[in-house]
């Protein structure tokens, strides 16, 4: 009797653990299934090469490029902010700050990632954009620049926290050896700790990139939701995520081409995120072999 109960409990717990895999299968499955009908209307060539994305207009065009350029641009700006800030902060916390202070500072820094994204959207639209307009007078009220910068600030803790974990895990005898031959803390940090923690730092960057690619509300609020094939950050544009929000706000009949278009957009986003994750895994593998 007791043995039976143990078996049943183990099975139930296993099902719970396996359900997390079902979530992934569900996401991929639904995105693929709902996207397939879209390609009965639109050829893959049109989808990948057309330079306009206007699925909801009468004269609908289905080129993903404008959404990709918007996504690419915001992500690059966000990373230009987050990677230097996050990495330097991590090195500072790991090599210069006393452990007691680190215990206090790290959770405070992580609060930056806890702020709801819609609040960041407010901040980008009504604080950062007016501030930037004082420096760049012809900046449009909706623009990619301020959205990108704010997303960058938002993902600083993802980058810094995980990087710091990786740097903290570097064995201290490596540091001591470096100090013993007369290296300064900065030299130790750049030539010993960061290379040794490279694998962990890469995963921190990859998580940061995934966050930036998938960030929705900041761009939907501050970047203007207009698909725009441009690499000029002072103009409004739309990302893949912003387009999905824009369409979802309206009333969209199930099965219409507009409905299918958000799934195609979502699938593209997922594929893009997956590519970066695989690239990160490859980078880590390659570096680990070298050691």
């Amino acid at each position: 009797m007791r043995r039976l109960k143990e078996r049943v409990i183990e099975t139930v717990l296993f099902l719970a653990a396996a359900s997390s895999v079902l979530v992934t299968i569900g996401i991929v499955g639904i995105l693929v299934v709902e996207s397939i009908p879209f390609f009965e209307h639109v050829t893959l060539k049109e989808f990948l090469t057309d330079t306009e994305w206007t699925p909801l207009f009468e004269n609908a065009r289905y080129g993903i490029l404008p959404l990709l350029s918007g996504t690419f641009l915001t992500t690059v700006i966000a990373l230009l902010v987050a990677i230097p800030l996050g990495t330097v902060t991590a090195a500072f916390l790991s090599e210069y700050v006393r452990p007691a202070w680190r215990e206090v500072l790290k959770p405070i820094l992580e609060l930056l990632a806890a702020v709801p994204t819609v609040v960041y959207g407010y901040f980008a639209l009504l604080f950062v954009t007016p501030l930037l307009q004082k420096i760049i007078p012809d900046l449009s009220g909706f623009n990619v620049l301020s959205a990108g910068i704010v997303i960058g600030m938002m993902i600083v803790p993802y980058v810094s926290s995980l990087s710091e974990d990786a740097m903290g895990a570097v064995p201290s005898h490596l540091r001591e050896a470096s100090f013993a031959v007369g290296a300064s803390r900065m030299q130790t940090s750049f030539r010993v700790v960061i290379p040794a923690a490279f694998s962990g730092i890469t995963s921190a960057y990859i998580l940061g990139i995934s966050r930036a690619l998938g960030e929705t509300m900041v761009v939907a609020i501050a970047a203007g939701m207009q698909p725009n094939l441009t690499l000029n950050p002072t103009e409004p544009a739309a990302t893949i995520t912003a387009f999905i929000v824009q369409v979802s706000l309206g009333d969209l009949p199930h099965g219409s081409i507009g409905y299918q278009s958000i799934y195609v957009a979502g699938l593209s986003l997922l594929v893009l995120t997956l590519c970066f994750n695989i690239f990160g895994l490859w980078l880590r593998k390659k570096f680990q072999e070298k050691e």
Partner: protein, 305 residues
């Protein structure tokens, strides 16, 4: 041979650059913290004066001055409860299985890899999945239940990971002592592992709910309405069985969506409402995160194995 002076100059130079680097590090840290403070202050200056009792007890309105967040905070509250009911049992059970039962084989490896990957999946794709699966396939509608399930799945990895960390911190001696007394595996988990890890699990639950309460994009995707001027059905009725779950199937709005709605209007008066909602949201997430940090540190101090 380098002369002593060369060496001294070399040391000076390196000390200088070391100092510059330390200063850069301090600046980046301060920049991040100042951004956080600026955000809080800027939002509060606009929003706090607007927060009155009426703001909590009024429905949204065409007139910015009369509008409030009654339906939004009630909606947020209902969605949070549903999320917690969905995510906590599933997440804790999964965490317990992965730490205490799973053997090293390909099944457990797939599950582990998958949990790491879930953290990188954009939240909006959860919304798309929910729209296709819960709203249209399972016909749950654009309801509180759909929203709770969606957010529940979204925060599931957070709960699984924190549960595992909490369980891993329990030394094996505890398990062995329990087995030595003749307890079965489940009895050991039920009476020892779960109680000792409850502090860590609570931390994870609070963090995941604070994440869920600010989440906007997946709920917009499932078609949560932005203008709701009524409340969900009351959970208690005057006819037996007195408790009804009809509210689960009601349409809803939540605070972040209400804030987004006000923010996307051109008039500045609505932006004030958005700021006020933002202050409330921000305070809730900061308090929840602060509580989680406090709980974690207290738990660490108390547990001396």
């Amino acid at each position: 041979m380098e002369s002593q002076q060369d060496i001294l100059a070399n040391i000076k130079r390196r000390q200088f650059w070391d100092f510059v680097f330390a200063l850069t590090g301090l600046m980046s840290l301060l920049f991040a913290l100042i951004t956080l403070i600026t955000l809080i202050v800027d939002l509060s200056l606009t929003g706090v004066p607007r927060i009155t009792l009426d703001f909590f007890t009024s429905f949204p309105s065409r007139f910015a001055g009369k509008a409030g967040i009654l339906s939004a905070w009630v909606g947020s509250f209902c969605v949070m409860i549903t999320t917690a009911f969905c995510a906590i049992p599933l997440g804790v059970a999964a965490g317990v299985y992965l730490e205490e039962y799973s053997k090293k084989n390909w099944v457990s490896q797939i599950i582990e890899l998958n949990i790491i990957n879930l953290a990188g999946i954009p939240s909006i794709t959860y919304g798309l999945m929910a729209l296709g699966l819960f709203v249209y396939q399972l016909k749950l509608g654009q309801s509180i239940l759909t929203a709770g399930l969606t957010l529940g799945l979204l925060v599931l990895p957070i709960i699984i990971v924190t549960t595992r960390e909490a369980i891993r911190a329990i030394p094996n001696a505890i398990r062995e002592a329990s087995y030595a007394m003749g307890a079965s595996k489940w009895q050991t988990i039920r009476h020892h592992i779960l109680p000792y890890s409850s502090g860590g699990i609570m931390t994870g639950v609070i963090i995941s709910l604070s994440r869920a309460i600010g989440e906007t994009a997946p709920l917009i995707t499932i078609g949560a309405l932005t203008f709701i001027a009524f409340l969900p059905t009351a959970p208690i009725s005057d006819v037996p069985p007195f408790i009804n779950l009809k509210w689960l199937m009601d349409p809803f709005t939540v605070m972040p969506i209400q804030m987004f709605n006000w923010l996307s209007r051109p008039q500045a008066e609505f932006h004030v409402n958005a700021a006020a909602t933002g202050v409330i949201l921000l305070m809730m997430t900061l308090i929840m995160n602060g509580g989680a940090i406090y709980l974690r540190s207290r738990f660490r101090k108390k547990m001396k194995w």
